[in-house]
Subunit: 295 residues, 4 copies
C-alpha cells in the first residue's frame, strides 16, 4: 500500500537574539531565544528534493536578527507577530509561520550594566496564517513552594498503594503555564504578562489545596476571571516532591522532624497537566500545534 | 463568562526502573525510564479537591516497579502494555492510561557485568483505552552524519538571504523517530525495533540528498515499505550544522580547507519535522497525545 | 616497580537539604545542596576492602539532614562548619572533613509561600581539620553584562590572527568567584557575603575595561580592599561572546547595526581565570583542595 | 595591606573541531572538543589592561582548527602535543600551554556515513612547557555496573547510621579515569588508550569488591601493572546508587524482590576519589593543574 507525506514543518530553532537599545547613555537590553517554523506546501522538498519553494532556515535566522532592529523588541509577542508576518509573506508556499520566543530577564546595575535575573522565563508562541493569527503567552521555570496548607488524602487505594495520607506537606512545582489570547488586537503584551504572572503568584500563595490539581484549577480560574481577553490557559506542573526526612532511627534524644527538614527529590516526579477554558472561547485552530507540554 | 476544566492528565514521570534477571549466573539487565499518565474524569480533584477517584502517582510508581517483576521486561512495548492495562483497570475513572518508556542499552563485559552503551535511546509510548490500544515505538538521540553526498541549492531567496548554495556539505542530525504500529497483536517488538533501526541507518548511509527533508521522506518511505505492520512514522530532526572553517585569512602558505575541517555548531540549528503515513493507516486516535516533538 | 595508593577522599555528594523554619506562621526556608568528603587514612578500604574505619556516605548524608535541624542553617558557612566538625569527630581515621554547600535563594510571596529566585547561587566550601579550619565563600552563575565601555585591542598577532580590534564591544560573563576568609572566627557570614557580592556588582558596573582580565583584577582588588578579613579571591570567568550580527549583506536600505543586535554564542568561549591575593595572607593549606575551577 | 595578582590562565574553551579525512572515497572522521589555556607572565593584561603580550583566545581557536588540517588528528594526544607546542611558541609571554581534548567516537555505517557511538568519551590533557611536557590520557562517562559480587559491611557506625549491611548489592559508577604517562616519547597513543580501557573493563568485570574504594584500587593497580609507561592513575567515581525496591508492603501474594528490581537514584550519590601511583614515578609538575576532578 502506498504512503504519503503527512504534516511537516521546518525552521530555525534557538536563535539567541540580544537587542541593545542605546539611544541614550542609559541602555536597555532584551535577551531572546527565537525559533521559527514554516508550514505549508513543501512536498517537493521532501519527495523530489526540489528546494524552489523553501526559504532557507538560514534566511529565517537572518530575518530574526534583522527584525530585532527593523521592528524592535517592545515585547516578545509584538516582535514575534512582526517576524511571523514577514516570514509568511516572504515564503509563498507557507500557509502559517510560527514564532516561538523565550525571554530572559536582566536587572539593571548601571547605565549600561546588567545582571541576569534567572528564575522564570517569559514565553510567547505566535502563529500567523492566512486565516488568522494566534498568540499564546506564557511562563516557564516558575518554581513555587508552599511550606504548609497542602494536604493529600482520601485518594483511591489498591494493593500497590503504600503512600500515607497527609494533612500537611510541602507543595512545590516548576510551573509551565501558557495562555491563549482571544484576540491579538490592542493588547498591551507587557502589562498583560505582568498581570497574569501576578495572579498566578497571588493565587498560589493564597490557596489551601488538597492536590496539585486543585491548585492548577484555582490558578487557571483566577487568571481567566481577572483577564477577560484570555480564551484559555494550560498548565504543565511537575510535583517536585519534598519528602520529610525520617529521623526516627537516629539515636539522638529529642530529635524529631515536624515538617522542618525535607529532601528535595529529582526523579520520579508527579506530573499534573490541565487546561481551563472560557466557555465562549474562540477556536484554537493551530495555536497550540507543536507547542511543548500538554497541548 | 464562565470557564470549564478542559483536558487533563496526571501521572508519575521518570521512574528509573532497573530490572536484573538472575535466574542463572549469567545475569540480564533492562534499564528503563518509565512515565505513566491517566486521563479520564478527574474533574472533582481539580474543582473541589476530592481525591476519591485519584489513584496516586505514588501508586503508579509502585506499580511500575512491581510490574518489572510480576510481568517482566521482555521489551519496552510488552512491559508498557501490561502496565498500562493494569493502571486502567485499577483506576475506574480513567479512560486511557499512557505509558512512556525510554530504554538505555548496556553491553555485556562479564556474566554479571555491563557497560552502558550510550548513543541512541529506544522509546515506546503505549496508550491503553477502553476503545483500543496504540503502540508507538521509536528511537531518540540517534546521531547520524554524512560527510558528503549532501547538497543544498536552488532554494528561495529574499533580501535577507546570504547563504551560498552548495554542492557538497556535511549533513548531520540527532534524529528522533517514532512509528505507530497498525496493530498491537502478535508483534515481535524487539525484532521490529531492530529492523526499523537497521532500515533507518541503511537509508541514511545510502541516500544522496538535496535537503534534510528529502532524507526524512526517504527514511520514512523505506521503513513503511519494509514494515507492513506500521501505520506511520514521524521525525523530528535538528540539522546539526557543521560549518566549513574559513582558512582564507590565515597567513599560511598552501593552507586550504576542502571539506576537511568543520566547526560543529550548537545553536541555532535547523529543525525539520515530517510525517510519512501509509494510505490505509487505521486512525491514530490519541496515540500521539502528549508525545514530545512534532506530533 | 611497585605502586602505592595516593591521595583519596570519599563522601556523599549533592544532598538536597531543604530546611523550613516554622516557629511562627511566617515560615522561613533555606534550600541547600550539600556535599561532604572525608580525607585521612582509609588505605585499608582501598587495599584490603576492610571498612572498619569508614563512616558510610549514607551516614554522612543522614548527618547532613539531621544537622539542618540540630544546628540549623543560619548561613551555609555556619552550617558547614558544624557539620564538618561533627563528621571529623565521628570518623577517627579522618584528618579533614570538607563540606561544600550551594544555596538557592527564594523570594517570599506569602507567609508560607515562596518563589525560587534563580540567578546566582551562593556557595561555601569549609574544610575542618585537626590543624585548622578554612572557609571559602563564593558565588556561581552570576551572569553579568556591560553593553559598552569594553574594548579589546593592541593584542599580540600571528599568522592565525583574524580578530579585528575593537573599541566598543559587549562584555559578558557567567562569573564564578570564591574568596577565602583569613579567619573563621566572629564572621557575620551573611553580611560578608552580601557585601562581597555588592562590591562585585558595583565594580563590574563601574569599570571601563580593555580585557576581561582587567575586570577580574579590578573586582578582586575592590573586594580585598573593602573586606580586610579576606585572604584571597579566585575567579573563573567565561567570556560569553556576544558577536555583532553582520547586516551588511542584507538588501535592505538603511539597515545598519551600530552595537544594537548581537548573537549570544554558546561555544567556544574564552575562559579567563585569575587569583588576587593579599600580601600577608595566611597559608591556604588544603582550603582549595578539590574545589572546582582554577584552584 | 596590599594585594597581588596570583596564578592566572586564559584560553579558548570547547572548540568543536570536526576533522574529515577524505583522501579516498572511504572517509574518516575525528570529532573533538578542544580547549586551550596559556599560563605565564600576563600581569599587564590584568593590572594595566595592556594586551601586548596576549595572544587572543580567538587566535587560539583559529589555531586549533587549522592544526586539525596542518598536523592532523592521528590521536587526541598527538594533536594536542602539536597544538600546545605551537601556542607556546606563538606567545612568548607564556610559560606553559595546556590543551584539553575530548573525543567522541563514531561508528561507520557507510563509506562516508557514521553514527555517533555515545557512551564513554576519550580525553587527553597535554601540558607543554619550556621545562617539559606532560600527557594525561583518560576516559569519562564510562558507566559500569556489576549486578552482584559487591558487598558493603563491617563499616564504622555512629548514632546517625541506619544503613543495613549487605552481602549482595548492585555496584555502579560513571567512571572518570585519568592516567599520566611517564614519558611522551614513542608512545602509540591509540594503542595505549585501548589497552588501558580494556584493562579497566576486565578488572571491573572480574573483581569481587567490598567497597567501591577497593574496585578503584584494583583497577588502578591492574592498569599500572599492565602499562609500564604510566606514572599514575586517578579516579573520580560516583557511586550510582541502585536501591532495591521494597515490595514488602504491597498486598500481592508471592511478590518478592531478591535483587531483581532496583531504582536508579540521581542524587545524592557517593563520590569516591583515589589515586594510585607508581613508586618511581617522575614528578607531575603542573600536569594536573586545572584538570577537573580530584586532581
Amino acid at each position: 500500500m502506498a504512503h504519503t507525506l503527512g504534516a511537516n514543518q521546518y525552521g530555525k530553532a534557538e536563535c539567541r537574539v540580544v537587542r541593545v537599545v542605546r539611544d541614550t547613555p542609559r541602555h536597555e537590553i532584551r535577551d531572546l531565544n527565537v525559533s521559527t517554523s514554516l508550514r505549508g506546501d513543501f512536498a517537493a522538498a521532501h519527495v523530489t528534493g526540489d528546494q524552489t519553494a523553501v526559504l532557507p532556515t538560514d534566511t529565517q535566522k537572518n530575518t530574526a536578527f534583522a527584525y530585532a532592529k527593523l521592528h524592535g523588541v517592545g515585547s516578545p509577542e509584538d516582535y514575534a507577530l512582526a517576524l511571523g508576518a514577514r516570514l509568511l509573506e516572504a515564503c509563498p508556499a507557507a500557509e502559517t509561520a510560527q514564532v516561538r520566543v523565550e525571554e530572559y530577564g536582566w536587572d539593571r546595575i548601571g547605565d549600561h550594566s546588567f545582571v541576569r535575573r534567572g528564575g522564570s522565563v517569559r514565553t510567547a508562541v505566535v502563529t500567523v496564517g492566512h486565516d488568522g493569527t494566534h498568540v499564546v503567552s506564557g511562563i516557564t521555570d516558575l518554581v513555587l513552594l508552599n511550606s504548609t496548607d497542602s494536604e493529600f488524602k482520601g485518594f483511591l487505594k489498591d494493593e500497590f498503594t503504600t503512600l500515607p495520607e497527609t494533612d500537611d506537606r510541602v507543595l512545590a512545582t516548576s510551573l509551565v503555564a501558557r495562555w491563549r489570547h482571544a484576540s491579538v488586537d490592542g493588547v498591551d503584551w507587557n502589562a498583560s504578562h505582568e498581570a497574569v504572572t501576578a495572579t498566578l503568584l497571588r493565587t498560589f500563595a493564597g490557596t489551601y489545596t488538597r492536590a496539585l490539581q486543585e491548585m492548577l484549577y484555582a490558578m487557571g480560574s483566577a487568571v481567566l476571571d481577572a483577564q477577560p481577553g484570555l480564551a484559555e490557559i494550560r498548565f504543565s506542573a511537575p510535583n517536585v516532591h519534598h519528602f520529610l526526612v525520617d529521623f526516627s532511627d537516629f539515636q539522638v534524644d529529642g530529635l524529631s522532624n515536624d515538617g522542618e527538614v525535607f529532601v528535595a527529590a529529582d526523579r520520579p516526579y508527579g506530573l499534573i497537566e490541565a487546561q481551563v477554558t472560557r466557555d465562549d472561547a474562540p477556536p484554537a485552530d493551530d495555536a497550540w500545534l507543536a507547542v511543548p507540554g500538554f497541548c
